[in-house]
Assembly symmetry: C2
Homo-oligomer: 543 residues x 2
């Protein structure tokens, strides 16, 4: 006699993990919370009413389920509405990377097949110039902050302000596996690759973040005020536009990044929670107005990801009274996989000892299965020494690269998503990325973990930024070279001497020490503001 539920009522409601359902609860619970965009502020109640009006307007001009809708904008209130409105009607939001060169912007839009495109006024002229090439676009939706019509030769042309004028739509109750977003990730080689995410992916990613972000030392409460400094075209701004709303947090939108204005906003809106890459944190803290707003920076909690968080930078942030914590993920992973919160081991350490863990890659967040697989195919030991590739499984990973079966196959080899990141794991369970697989310097058949070297070099007085890359070497295959941007007086000798001090402590090997330190004025960067190591390697090869 087995249990067979034969009598399920036809009226049983199967709750889909979609946007409509998931955000219905916070809309009702936190209706008076605010979303702030410079001088404009709307309550959650107004926000969702306007979002549903936009849903109605989009459907009215013909946007259908499965249609790709491109968005070309800074971090604005309009973008925030589109983050909800486009998926709510079952369409697919393409967050166009506006930092790409024009050609790549075009190629990615053509590749995704953007059927409709929402464009902020200042981006209209460049699109007009190449309008004839966008034969796949069936509607251009333009807007300006003022709300007044934007004149343009783009055609067919719609004013977003008209689309927002109608009544509210009743969002359909979609299958949770409906596609929600697509965007492109710039590899260090080849054209950008498209990754896609489903509504269920984003809901579960939000739930996992909601839980882990309430852990120490982030200790998120509903009183926190968010301002993500990860552009909204970049991997869902790490999920913050969804997490904040789900938890009832006030959300502040910075528009186009201007660090002076951002510092003012942090002060005016009492921002307490942010996310950013290390270079943005650095620019914020070294901004001429930083000291003037030091009081507002005190207590700010920041998740730093996108690249390793250098210890020197973390200490600078601590000097401001900020709490900085490392996080890790990829475009392919929605993005978050790990966050460096404290656990029962590291809680007991002194603040100084904790820092090494807080700036690490961190601990897997709920529902993340993370393995570090060594060259022998086995998981490495939890000894902080064995190096292997991070492979993961979670319920929010991309199914693959859009229209690229070959790279998809590599990504998902053996049913695990391959991150291409090399890491160790310590006895407390913290993951430490030591290198991108393709950035690793392989010398005499062994990996030299460049992130470990960069971290130690960043501690030297006068070092602003550092990147270690491999120079081809006839004898060893490759040898490490350090590129350094100064912020004061520092010499090659001082850096080498500092590193040598760690040899006896067992932190580094003697043969890891770079053959040369090259001082440069500024680091070359990718469109997502990461240090462009490919460019640095090219410079070495050219010289």
């Amino acid at each position: 006699m087995q249990l067979k539920i034969k009598n399920v009522s036809s009226e049983y409601y199967r709750y889909n993990l979609n946007f409509r359902n998931f955000f219905m609860t916070p809309e009702s619970l936190y209706e008076n919370r605010e979303i702030v965009y410079f001088d404009k502020r709307v309550t959650f109640k107004e926000f969702f009413r306007e979002t549903r009006a936009l849903c109605s307007g989009l459907a009215g001009i013909g946007v259908k389920q499965g249609d790709v809708v491109g968005v070309i904008d800074w971090d604005t209130l309009t973008y925030m509405k589109l983050y909800y409105a486009i998926p709510m009607i079952g369409a697919v939001m393409h967050t166009v990377n506006i930092r790409y060169p024009q050609e790549l912007i075009y190629l990615t839009m053509a590749h995704a097949g953007d059927k409709y495109v929402v464009v902020r006024d200042e981006f209209v002229p460049v699109l007009e110039k190449y309008a004839s090439m966008f034969d796949f676009v069936k509607g251009w939706i333009v807007y300006s902050d003022s709300g007044s019509p934007v004149s343009s030769t783009l055609s067919p042309l719609y004013q977003l302000s008209d689309l927002e004028k109608g009544g509210e739509c009743e969002p359909p109750d979609l299958d949770e596996n409906t596609w929600a977003t697509v965007f492109y990730t710039s590899g260090t080689t080849g054209l950008p690759k498209g990754v896609t995410f489903k509504q269920r992916d984003l809901v579960l990613h939000t739930l996992a973040l909601l839980s882990v972000m309430k852990n120490e030392p982030l200790s998120l409460t509903s009183d926190d005020v968010f301002m993500s400094l990860v552009p909204m075209f970049h991997v869902h701004s790490w999920g913050m536009p969804y997490v904040a709303v789900a938890n009832g947090n006030k959300y502040v939108l910075p528009g186009r990044y201007d660090f002076g204005k951002i510092l003012e906003l942090i002060e005016r809106e009492r921002v307490t929670f942010s996310t950013m890459v290390p270079s943005i944190l650095y620019m914020l803290l070294t901004h001429p107005k930083a000291q003037e707003h030091a009081g507002a920076l005190k207590g700010l909690k920041v998740i730093v990801g996108g690249a390793a968080l250098p210890k020197g930078l973390a200490m600078m942030a601590r000097g401001f009274g900020m709490t900085v914590v490392g996080g890790y993920g990829l475009s392919e992973t929605c993005p978050v996989l790990t966050i460096s919160v404290l656990n029962d081991y590291t809680k007991k350490l002194s603040p100084e000892e904790q820092l090494d863990y807080l700036i690490s890659t961190g601990l897997p967040i709920p529902m993340v299965q993370l393995k570090i697989v060594g060259p022998d195919g086995k998981e490495v030991a939890r000894d902080g020494k064995g190096v292997g590739e991070i492979v993961v499984r979670t319920p929010w990973l991309t199914e693959g690269y859009y229209k690229d079966p070959e790279k998809t196959k590599e990504l998902w080899a053996n049913g695990w998503l391959h991150t291409g990141d090399l890491a160790t794991v310590d006895s407390y369970g913290y993951v430490h990325i030591v290198d991108r697989e393709k950035d690793a310097v392989k010398s005499g058949g062994e990996f030299i973990p460049t992130l470990v070297l960069e971290n130690l070099i960043s501690e030297v007085n006068g070092v602003a930024e550092v990147a270690v890359v491999g120079r081809p070497d006839p004898k060893w295959g490759e040898r490490p070279v350090a590129f350094v941007v100064k912020k004061g007086e520092v010499t090659e000798e001082a850096i080498i001497k500092h590193l040598e001090g760690y040899i006896s402590a067992g932190r580094i090997q003697k043969w890891w020490i770079p053959d040369q330190v090259i001082f440069i004025d500024s680091m070359p960067r990718t469109s997502t503001n990461k240090i462009d190591k490919k460019e640095l390697r090219a410079r070495l090869q050219a010289s």
Copy 2:
């Protein structure tokens, strides 16, 4: 040009929200956390190893996916392992209500079709007596705390200790909609009804709790130590055996409830977090040893549910320095729907003002869509006055009553789960249950909310417990009568006078005041320890 992901790799891993996947992450993150059962303590690492050995043993004697496995036990370490092991192999755990009379225990086991039954030694004799009736049972699995074999005439007989001896199984990666649990809920009329839950239900319920329990004033951290005082046969012990493990909290099992021992355990294991019904809280606080352990009770955080939390009891708990918070749910809802955490309105109130919200039914937890529908079919106003029935949608509700299409149809009428509870909602969003629909007193065509009266009466000095029920009345249909258990000197006049004081404040209507106060020695209780109002009404009818 629409987005169609045609190139999904066959190796893409579709993560199912099942037990195997969900608990893999905490097992790896918190391997040294402990589960404590009197003098036995196992780490999470040992716990999962033993659980997988048990999986292997169960599969070895023939337990297959879909088989119902009954469990007859107190809150033990063995039960905790079965909470995981049975679903992990795809079987269905039937948490047999051992507080039922023997006949009901048999009837529910027969109705569920328990194919295998795990029995703690002390329950073996009574089962042996009726062994011939259990023709549907294909295997009895017996155990004792000591681990030594239990002799019995039950047949076929297996020793659980033998089942645990083998190697670990590799749990299958099941579809998330695999049935996980079944148990019976005693209505106030008719036979108990069976409700069932899927692995996905339990995973999403756990995730929602993980997020909301970290909100103030519960402020769950990984340092908290759990001991749920909701029996494990009762609605998944409100999900705590899963929440604690998912969050890496030490978990203490109380065995068979003995309040003296429980107080000792709270002190010895430094328990900081519990869940219980009001009557258990009352028994704990009024226990002769409560004062001796007052130091350990200080700071204890408790979610009280299963029945309204009387203000008098909440104040008594505050006197001990405890934090008590109301929660609400049904057997049909997994169970949690609401918890009375603080929100941005109530955070600003004084502790005295907060109490009225903390003891309320509370706020919907993540993913709960909750409506209060008045007699006119419309949602009631957020004014704390309009009374309607609570109906809900969440991703963890039972699909229906097992083998009972008629009652299932009522439960799920119009695609919403009907709780049968009458409530109001205030301007801060807090739900306040005013009555069970069937417990409401209807006088002169209007509802008299008995919970409001009970709450006010509980404030009178000398009142230990109170229940208000309706007595048939030729003129008004029904009139309220209060049953009171004393804990000191108190008179009918004092109670009536206390209530009259609230008329002018608008808290109650004059005609709500009970016609009579009847003092009794103790309250009649249902098998789940709730006050049995059906029995009280029967007494009124008999007199």
